[in-house]
Every structure is written in C-alpha cells, then in structure tokens.
C-alpha cells in the first residue's frame, strides 16, 4: 500500500506528463479512476463497433448489386476488426475481454444508442454510412491524440479505415437522390429518421455531461459534446444540400455571427429512453449478441480441445 502522500505526488507527476502531452503507456502508474474511465469508455466503444455490425449485417444479403454487397461486407468486417483493436486496448489496462463482453450481455455496459434504431430500407445503409459513421469519425479523430497510448494508436488505425465508410454511405444517398421519385423519397425518409439520432450520438448537452470535465483534464477527451455536435451540423448541412436532400429541422438557420448553423431542440427524453433500454431494437440487439456467444460455445470448446491435443502431441514427440 502506498501512503497517501506518495499517491498525491504520483498524481501530480502523472498530471504533469498529461499536461506536456506525454503519452501514458500500459505499465506506467496511473490513478485508479483514469484506468476505470478508460476501461469504461474503450469497452463501450468496442461494444458499439460489435453491435454496430447488426443493423448493416441485416442488408448484406439484400444489397442491390455485387459492388454494393462487396463494399458492405468489407465495411462490416472492418467494424469487427475495430471492435477487436479496442478490446485489445482494454486488455492493456488489465481488463478481461470476456468479462467486458459479459457486461454488455448483462446490460451493465452500454453501447452507442444509435444502433438501437432499425434499418428499414436500403437507403438506411446510405444514411448510416454518411451520418452515423460521419458522427463517429468526428468523435474519433480527436481521440487519435488521446493521452492513453494504446487507445490513441487504435484510433489512428480505425480512423484511417473508416474514411471509406462515410464515403460509401454518401455515395448510396447520392445515387438514390438522383434516381426515381420513389428512390429520392426513400433517401429523404432515411435522412429524416437518422438525422436526430445521429446528433444524439455526441452525448448529452455539456451542462448534463457528468464525465466531460475530468476527461478533458486527463486529455482523454479534447472537445465537449456540444462542440462536436456543432461541427457535425456545420459539415453535414451543405452535403445534404449538394444532393438535393432536406435536413428535417424547421429551425435550422445559418448564424452569421457564430459562423455556424443554429439548429432545433433535440428530444433528450427520447435519447434517455433509448439509453435506458427502451429503444426500438435494444432487446433484439443484446439477444442476438448473447445467442452468438451461446451458439459459439461448441467452437470455443473444440478449439481448446484441439489446442490441448496438439500441445500433448508436441510434448510426446519431445520426450
């Protein structure tokens, strides 16, 4: 047990490193809460990647042509990879991957609420790529400079790979928006349903965000939720206009003074309701993940038995 005095000295040195932008690496001393915060955030991020495969996996067999199908497959495979980079980062902090996954299945751990909305039409693949991945990238780019080395490095890789995700989504929307009346309606409908939930992805407004200040001091977070949300709106509005789609917000207006858009009130009751588990697909998503683990038990069993057999054979040969 370290003495209290030692701890405060260690904490001072730790904060000094953070303030100088020196990265923290796995074996370095860190405050318990820094470790806990990171495990919570990174595992939630990992869960979001894994659960995020479900709404898109839903459309792989029904993609309109082979090109779109190959692209969607590659995107979903990337997301599985991103989940793995992130679980790997949590393990550098002493967390256990399987425990993290069980926390997801029991409902103890959260994941991004956006994946609790259904993907009803092909245009939703466009809206998800364009808006959901767009918002995710907006969140993740600053995380590349996060103070914790393994998380920052995972984010660099994720961001590099995700740039195609957003483009392919926008391309789908562009094709539909330039198509028949029905196709354009389908694109507009997808934008209508995904616009507000995408803005909610940045989390509650700054005044209600309980983790923001400490995370900023630790340089885990670099921008507040509202700052990122504003950037998202400012970037996306012209993209919608360029393909002739309308943002579903009657209050949306350019504000010359602040050099950005003013936008309408977000329905935070809906947000909290979905976070609490009452979104359209919460139960379905977790059930699917839980079943995947249960149905995979025989594979894990067989792989373990096979590994042991091989090890025994090797030992026999050596003796």
């Amino acid at each position: 047990m370290k003495k209290e005095q030692d701890i405060s000295e260690l904490e001072r040195k730790f904060q000094e490193k953070i303030d100088q932008d020196i990265k923290i690496e796995p074996k370095d001393w860190m405050p318990d809460n820094y470790r806990k915060t990171l495990i919570r955030q990174i595992s939630q991020h990992a869960h979001s990647e894994v659960v995020g495969m479900l709404p898109e996996g839903n459309w792989i067999t029904r993609a309109p042509n082979l090109r779109r199908k190959a692209v969607l497959l590659a995107k979903v495979q990337d997301e599985a990879g991103h989940g793995l980079y992130l679980y790997s980062a949590t393990e550098t902090l002493g967390a256990d991957r399987e425990d993290c996954i069980d926390d997801l299945h029991s409902g103890k751990a959260k994941y991004s609420s956006i994946f609790n909305y259904p993907t009803l039409t092909w245009a939703d693949m466009g809206a998800v790529g364009w808006l959901v991945d767009g918002a995710a990238i907006m969140n993740q780019v600053p995380l590349c400079r996060c103070s914790y080395g393994p998380y920052a490095r995972a984010m660099v890789k994720v961001c590099k790979e995700e740039s195609f995700h957003q483009r392919q989504g926008y391309e789908i929307m562009m094709a539909l928006a330039a198509g028949s009346v029905e196709q354009k309606e389908m694109a507009q409908d997808a934008l209508n349903r995904f616009w507000w939930p995408s803005l909610m992805m940045f989390g509650p407004p700054d005044e209600d965000s309980k983790h923001t200040k400490q995370s900023m001091d630790w340089r885990i977070k670099r921008h507040s939720n509202d700052e990122l949300r504003q950037m998202m709106v400012d970037i996306t509005v012209p993209q919608a206009e360029a393909i002739g789609l309308t943002i579903p917000d009657a209050d949306l207006k350019w504000n010359e003074e602040k050099g950005g858009y003013d936008y309408g009130e977000i329905d935070w009751d809906e947000f909290w309701n979905v976070v609490k588990g009452n979104g359209p697909c919460n139960k379905d998503r977790i059930d699917t993940r839980r079943k995947a683990k249960e149905n995979g038990a025989w594979v894990r069993e067989a792989a373990n038995a096979h590994a042991e057999k091989r090890k025994a054979r090797k030992l026999r040969r050596a003796s």
Binding site: D78, R97, P150, A297, R300, N304
Partner: protein, 115 residues
C-alpha cells in the same frame, strides 16, 4: 448399483470437462507485423486465439486487411517480459553522462572531410 454410480460420475466428469473446455478463455497473443522486405517486425496489438495457428490466421484478418504486412509474428503475451517504468532512472540515466558515445563530441578541424 456400483456401475451405475460409476457411470454417473463419469458422465459428470465428462460434462465438467466440456464446460471447462467451452469456457476456458483463449490465451492472449501479441502480434508483430513486417510491413515490407527490409523492415523489422513491429508490434501492432494483441488478440485472443486458442493456439499459434489460429493466432496467425486471426492476425491476418485483424491487422492486415489492407496489405499492411508480408510477415506475421505472434507471441503468447504471458511470454513477454518487460522492464518496469519504475526502474527507468537506473536503467537509462547512466547513458546521459556518456556524450562521448556520439560523434558530435569530437573536434575535427575545418577542411577535414569524409569523417
């Protein structure tokens, strides 16, 4: 009577073994990738796999989806031994005072080339 008991026990043992096999977590592996000929392998992350064959297959899928590598090393994480950051001073400080290990320590008159 005896055989039935024995059978029951064997069944239980079998069941128990199956349970362990299905729930035993695959070990953690550290992954190193050589990005091209002429460069050394570099640590890229870790993954779970039941043995080295699966670890390499998974590493291929997880870490080289965009031609990032031409060769993969995997090492079970429990076999990696690392220096402790607490010892950094005693390990690396002695090098600080030995500036004569660097070429810039030495005076060479103007006009002398190729040195």
């Amino acid at each position: 009577m005896h055989t039935r008991k024995k059978e029951k026990r064997e069944n239980l043992e079998e069941h128990h073994k199956k349970y362990i096999m299905a729930n035993k977590e695959w070990p953690l592996w550290e992954v190193f990738i050589r990005s091209k000929q002429g460069l050394s392998h570099k640590h890229v992350g870790s993954l779970r796999a039941s043995d080295e064959v699966m670890a390499i297959e998974n590493a291929r899928d997880v870490y080289t989806r965009r031609s990032e590598g031409i060769s993969i090393w995997v090492i079970e994480s429990s076999n990696v031994f690392a220096s402790s950051p607490d010892n950094a001073d005693s390990l690396y400080d002695p090098a600080n005072s030995k500036v004569y290990r660097h070429p810039t320590f030495y005076d060479v008159p103007d006009g002398i080339e190729h040195m």
